[in-house]
């Protein structure tokens, strides 16, 4: 249940003693509105993905990532219209949190949705899934500034899925800058 995960995350943040988020305001709703970096122009901008804090994986980290069986699984799957992280996936998140912390890695979480519904709403739903995984990683001590969230919505989904085959598309994937 999302509530127990949220409670666990608050406790973990307290226990870890390191936090970039205010525990009373975990989503930063009351933070001063940050200066947004506006990028206008004709495609010459630097891609902002992965420009967070956190380091690009070096070769030995990449080798370790490739070799580790427990890191092969990158995906967290969700129920229809949901962004709640099911207990089945706590292991995936935990394994990656360990690796991320070890290497101070810069991470991108990609959110996805199945094709049903509008493209824009699915983009927002995919985003919520990516944010849920980010928050779960933060609860395990990962620095939030090292995690970027991007949504593809339904743009990578199987447009002809039916019933249970659509479950593949309702997912968030953990990616590393440098791979």
């Amino acid at each position: 249940m999302k509530n127990s995960l949220l409670l666990a995350s608050l406790l973990a943040v307290l226990a870890a003693g390191c936090s970039t988020t205010d525990i009373n305001d975990p989503m930063g709703l009351n933070a001063p509105f940050p200066e947004l970096e506006s990028r206008t122009g004709d495609g010459s901008e630097v891609d902002l993905i992965g420009s967070s804090q956190g380091k690009e994986l070096n070769q030995s980290a990449l080798d370790e990532l490739a070799a580790a069986a427990e890191l092969a699984d990158r995906s967290v799957y969700f129920d229809y219209d949901s962004f709640a992280i099911k207990s089945d996936f706590e292991g995936v998140i935990s394994n990656h949190a360990t690796f991320i912390n070890k290497h101070d890695a810069a991470v991108v979480v990609y959110g996805n949705a199945d094709y049903r519904g509008s493209h824009e709403y699915n983009l927002a739903l995919g985003q919520k899934r990516a944010v849920a995984v980010k928050q779960a990683l933060e609860a395990l001590g990962v620095n939030g500034s090292a995690i970027e969230t991007i949504s593809f919505g339904e743009e990578h989904a199987n447009q002809t899925c039916t019933g249970s085959t659509c479950g593949q598309d309702r997912r968030a994937d953990i990616g590393y800058v440098g791979e």
Partner: protein, 432 residues
């Protein structure tokens, strides 16, 4: 013309029509076909010997039929093709129950007969008189545009509202595994031309109300970003590439600003930004999804979808006070809002039992009407006169197509743009 046709009937969710020359508001429906004007469009006499001209009457007929306000009379058994009032046998046409007929002729004119002139008339059969008689000139290659303009003139004369038959639509096609294109075409799908080609998805194309630019979301930077492209020159600028996702561009009615959705601060939130990329302003900040902004025609409110109540519903926010009011209450969820040009109807997708369908809601009475059946109808947008809705749907083969449905619900007509799958579509404004 029958005055009674324009009187307001009792249908609860619709607004009365004024008999003034101002734009028609909403057409009522009662008893289905009883409210369609029967019209016969006769092949124009072609003194020009250019075969394409012979199709003009078909273009006009298809336009009028598509609107849902006209029913075309079958003229296959008719051998009499009058070109003006003097040649019309009124009692024959009355017997076919055609209230109006459209007749005309095409002559070659100009230097070496390279131009053509179409002289046409709209004739009232019951009153036995000509309502309109017009001459139009053009190149033979422009026969479709001329036919659309004739249909517009007929439409405006008989309904009081501008016709949309000479407008454009835009749509995104997936042509292959890494091949997407944004096309602009005539509203009926003819003359498509690609204005953007990409290996990555393009969504949310939106025409500026002044007709000059089109905004869209592209995934070519491996994340969603918003471009604004000048339609005439093809030049584009990157409107928004903030950290996170940038999507859902919606032009303000005066084309000076856009509402957009950013995920800079975690979940999707709505902002406004000047068309030159300056002056960004956040409209709300909640823990929920807030997306799909759509301006009211008076520019004072922005409608949007949000899951703040647990499932996706449609709300509106006052642009000045930031006050939020919920607007939809029926069905499992409601997304993709937009407003009719007169601001009186909300257009959206209603999900019920897993099926997504196009629906409209009268914003005064809050009565809802489903216009289509689903199950995978998406991307609804009004025509510029508010009388039709363009939308995408999946046919049995599961490939997405586009079509229109009239807001009186009587007429759903596909638009043929080929067999590749359509992602999203939109309608351009009336040209001045």
């Amino acid at each position: 013309m029958k005055q009674s046709f324009w009187k307001c009937f009792f249908l609860i969710w619709l607004v009365c029509i004024s008999n003034a020359s101002h734009a028609l508001e909403v057409i009522e429906i009662l008893g289905g076909k009883a409210s369609q004007i029967p019209v016969a469009v006769i092949p124009f006499k072609d003194n020009n010997a250019q075969k394409s001209m012979q199709l003009m009457h078909e273009v006009i007929t298809n336009d009028l039929n598509r609107s849902g306000l006209f029913s075309s009379i079958d003229i296959s058994g008719v051998s009499d093709y009058p070109i003006d009032e003097r040649e019309v046998n009124f009692s024959n046409w009355a017997a076919l129950q055609s209230q109006f007929i459209v007749v005309g002729k095409i002559d070659a004119i100009g230097r070496s007969n390279s131009q053509m002139q179409v002289t046409w008339s709209l004739i009232d059969i019951y009153k036995e008189k000509t309502v309109l008689s017009v001459a139009i000139k053009g190149q033979p290659s422009q026969y479709r545009v001329i036919a659309h303009r004739i249909a517009d003139t007929i439409y405006e004369k008989l309904t009081g509202s501008k016709g949309v038959f000479d407008t454009n639509i835009a749509f995104v096609k997936k042509l292959g595994k890494e091949k997407y294109s944004l096309f602009i075409a005539d509203y009926d799908g003819h003359n498509p031309r690609a204005i953007v080609n990409s290996r990555y998805s393009i969504i949310s194309p939106r025409w500026s109300p002044n007709g000059k630019k089109i905004a869209y979301v592209s995934f070519e930077k491996k994340k969603p970003v918003i471009y604004v492209q000048d339609i005439e020159t093809g030049k584009r600028t990157l409107l928004a590439n903030f950290r996170g996702n940038n999507s859902a561009p919606a032009w303000s009615p005066d084309s000076k600003k856009l509402a957009i959705v950013l995920t800079y601060s975690a979940n999707s939130q709505i902002y406004t930004i000047d068309a030159d990329g300056k002056n960004i302003k956040q409209l709300m900040r909640t823990r929920s999804i807030n997306t799909e902004p759509a301006w009211s025609p008076n520019g004072k409110e922005i409608y949007f979808s949000s899951d703040r109540a647990g499932s996706a519903q449609i709300y509106k926010v006052d642009v000045d006070t930031n006050e939020v009011v919920r607007v939809t209450f029926e069905g499992n969820n409601n997304v993709s809002p937009s407003l009719s040009p007169d601001g009186k109807l909300l257009l959206f997708l209603n999900q019920d039992n897993g099926s997504y369908r196009v629906a409209i809601q009268n914003l005064l009475s809050n009565q809802m009407l489903k216009l289509t059946n689903g199950p995978d109808d998406e991307s609804p947008i009004f025509s510029p006169n508010g009388h039709m809705v363009l939308f995408t749907y999946k046919d049995y083969g599961k490939v997405s197509k586009i079509g229109t449905v009239s807001i009186n619900g009587l007429k759903m007509t596909p638009i043929d743009v080929g067999s590749e799958t359509i992602l999203e579509s939109t309608w351009g404004p009336l040209s001045d």
